[in-house]
């Protein structure tokens, strides 16, 4: 049903000034509370009247959640640091151009000015059936409307679909997975540090969430180790429009070169599964090989093994292949096809 839009239901607004206060509020209100950073995802849900939280906790006043600082050659980025700040930060650009590029290509300048990196990685699925408020698996129902014979599912998953075929829409998430980042999550007085890869979860694990964050959890910071600083990075996003569009597929790769051969690699594609899809087989196979056409071809074939296309998204298979080849090629000039 097309529900009434743009008439936000009332809620109680909290604007804590510290992480401690924020955690206290979250603890008190549990599942009734909604954490809001930049509001780019939040207001879609609230204005569409699909989510009606009793309490909204606006993190906009919590200064300690913002900022980028050196951490032993790596970086620690506050969760509510804006995407614009991440994209323009000299340390990010110098050490992790992959992340700077990913942040720079998110949505539009206005959204990047308001949207945060924590919000970008924690945002919910953008499946238009789910976002229409339909009672699909992800919304607690018993069907995936996007995975039916007549569904329009050009933007949906080709990997690891389990009932739900929504994809993770983030641009920065695959970059952070490719950089072995860790996410700091606080809850009450406890703190846990979750590797990026474990932060994102597929529908098999929990069909109603894209991340491990539960009510009461607060993502406070992103830690990027020095491991991949200054290594070879590649990011590319394929989309319909050059601004204000989610990725059809994006790829984030970091390669450690020793001489002309790849000594270690991380390669992650997003927009193809409910979590940033790490190409483990490719990473293993390209170790010890040069960045040449043969490696690229082999990697491309490996990358798409196990892909299951839907009616309208089979193109994602050759597109993933193309992007994997391009990531291995980097700035070199040889043609991949």
């Amino acid at each position: 049903m097309p529900p009434i839009r743009d008439a936000m239901s009332a809620f109680e607004l909290f604007q804590p000034a510290s992480v401690g206060d924020a955690l206290g509020i979250l603890d008190r209100h549990g599942a009734d509370a909604w954490v809001m950073a930049g509001g780019m995802d939040t207001f879609d849900w609230l204005k569409d009247r699909i989510k009606k939280p009793k309490v909204v906790v606006d993190l906009g006043m919590v200064d300690e959640l913002r900022g980028i600082k050196d951490a032993a050659g790596g970086l620690e980025i506050g969760a509510t640091t804006t995407l614009t700040t991440v994209a323009n930060n000299p340390l990010v650009k110098e050490r992790f151009p992959l992340l700077a590029e990913a942040a720079l290509i998110v949505a539009s300048p206005q959204i990047r000015n308001q949207g945060t990196v924590g919000g970008n990685i924690s945002q919910d699925a953008r499946c238009w059936y789910y976002r229409a408020g339909w009672p699909c698996y992800r919304a607690g129902g018993n069907i995936c409307y996007a995975d039916t014979p007549t569904a329009v599912n050009r933007e949906h998953a080709i990997f690891n679909a389990d009932r739900c075929v929504a994809v993770n829409p983030s641009d920065t998430a695959p970059a952070l997975v490719a950089l072995d980042a860790e996410f700091v999550i606080k809850r009450g007085s406890a703190e846990r540090v979750v590797p990026a890869r474990e932060f994102f979860i597929g529908p098999g694990i929990d069909i109603t969430r894209l991340t491990v964050l539960q009510p009461g959890d607060l993502l406070t910071a992103i830690r990027i180790p020095a491991t991949w600083a200054g290594k070879a990075h590649y990011f590319e996003k394929v989309r319909d429009r050059m601004v204000w569009d989610f990725a059809l597929v994006n790829i984030a790769a970091s390669l450690n070169m020793s001489g002309a051969t790849i000594s270690d690699a991380r390669m992650v594609v997003n927009g193809v599964a409910a979590e940033p899809y790490r190409l483990d087989a490719v990473e293993a196979a390209i170790k010890g090989r040069p960045r040449d056409k043969a490696t690229a071809e082999m990697a491309a074939d490996l990358a798409v093994q196990g892909a299951v296309p839907l009616r309208h998204n089979a193109y994602k298979i050759p597109l993933v292949k193309a992007l994997v080849k391009r990531a291995i090629r980097g700035e070199a000039e040889w043609a991949t096809s």
Partner: protein, 280 residues
């Protein structure tokens, strides 16, 4: 039914059922455990009257032809039971572990176990119809005299009246419940195969209307949680000391001649030797 099932707005704005409330799982679990405690307590004081040993001695003397070990469950029947038990436990674990917080990709295991269950049940129906004594497990009005007598015996009175044939009445009632619940989960579960990706059928999530699907999911859920209680009860009985001889027979196939005579009416259940020939 307000809180026992969950409702949603269909894309056309209609109220449709989606699931049972998972609280019902806890209800079934707790119900099963409460029954277990209650029955266990009851058994401490139970006056259950089985056949007098003197009578059994006499019967044993009368029936010299009886083998020392009477076949209760043939190999095929035992295989079926354990395959079914395995698939049922897998189904329950894959269905309910995620609800209690153990999260894993369960759907594939669930439907595969479901297929195993379905296949085993289908085999069982054929086997029971053509090979086994089909009616020996069913309950009906004709069992009322036996029911009366067994109730009397339960309170310690050596009542006249029929003794159980091959299957005691409780056993048969349990089977009936399992038949109803089992066929319900199987039929609904098979329909659900059109909803998920299995590669076995051509998916059509729109095969039924939104509201019919809702009922399907609710029935599957209700019967599924029902099985939690049923299975708890079943395992409990299987492990009760006084029932262990039955449990053993499901493993080894036979009971002793004496057990046979103690618990059954040899006229209603004509014992077979292990080879399968009648030795009545």
């Amino acid at each position: 039914m307000g809180n026992l099932v969950s409702w949603a707005r269909s894309p056309w704005g209609d109220s449709v059922l989606t699931h049972i409330s998972w609280d019902l799982f806890w209800a079934s679990l707790i119900g099963g455990l409460l029954f277990l405690v209650a029955h266990g307590g009851y058994m401490l004081f139970s006056q259950h009257h089985k056949r007098d040993s003197s009578e059994v001695d006499r019967m044993e003397a009368d029936r010299k032809g009886l083998p020392a070990n009477v076949l209760r469950h043939g190999f095929v029947a035992r295989m079926f039971h354990w395959v079914m038990a395995f698939s049922m436990l897998t189904l329950l674990l894959t269905a309910f572990l995620p609800i209690v917080g153990v999260q894993f990709a369960w759907v594939q295991w669930h439907w595969m176990a479901g297929i195993l269950l379905t296949a085993s049940i289908m085999f069982h129906i054929v086997h029971a119809t053509f090979v086994l004594d089909f009616w020996s497990i069913w309950v009906g009005p004709k069992d009322i005299p036996e029911f009366k007598a067994e109730m009397m015996r339960e309170v310690g009175i050596d009542a006249p009246g029929p003794k159980p044939g091959k299957y005691p009445l409780g056993n048969r009632l349990y089977h009936l419940a399992v038949v109803v619940a089992g066929l319900s989960v199987i039929v609904t579960g098979i329909l659900m195969m059109w909803r998920v990706r299995t590669g076995l059928v051509e998916r059509n999530p729109y095969m039924l209307t939104d509201s019919t699907w809702g009922i399907t999911y609710v029935v599957h859920g209700l019967m599924g949680v029902g099985f939690v209680g049923l299975v708890i009860a079943h395992i409990y009985f299987a492990l009760r000391p006084e029932k262990l001889w039955v449990t053993k027979s499901m493993i080894f196939g036979t009971i002793t001649r004496r057990q046979y005579l103690e618990h059954h009416d040899p006229d209603r259940w004509v014992a077979e030797s292990k080879s399968g020939s009648n030795v009545g």
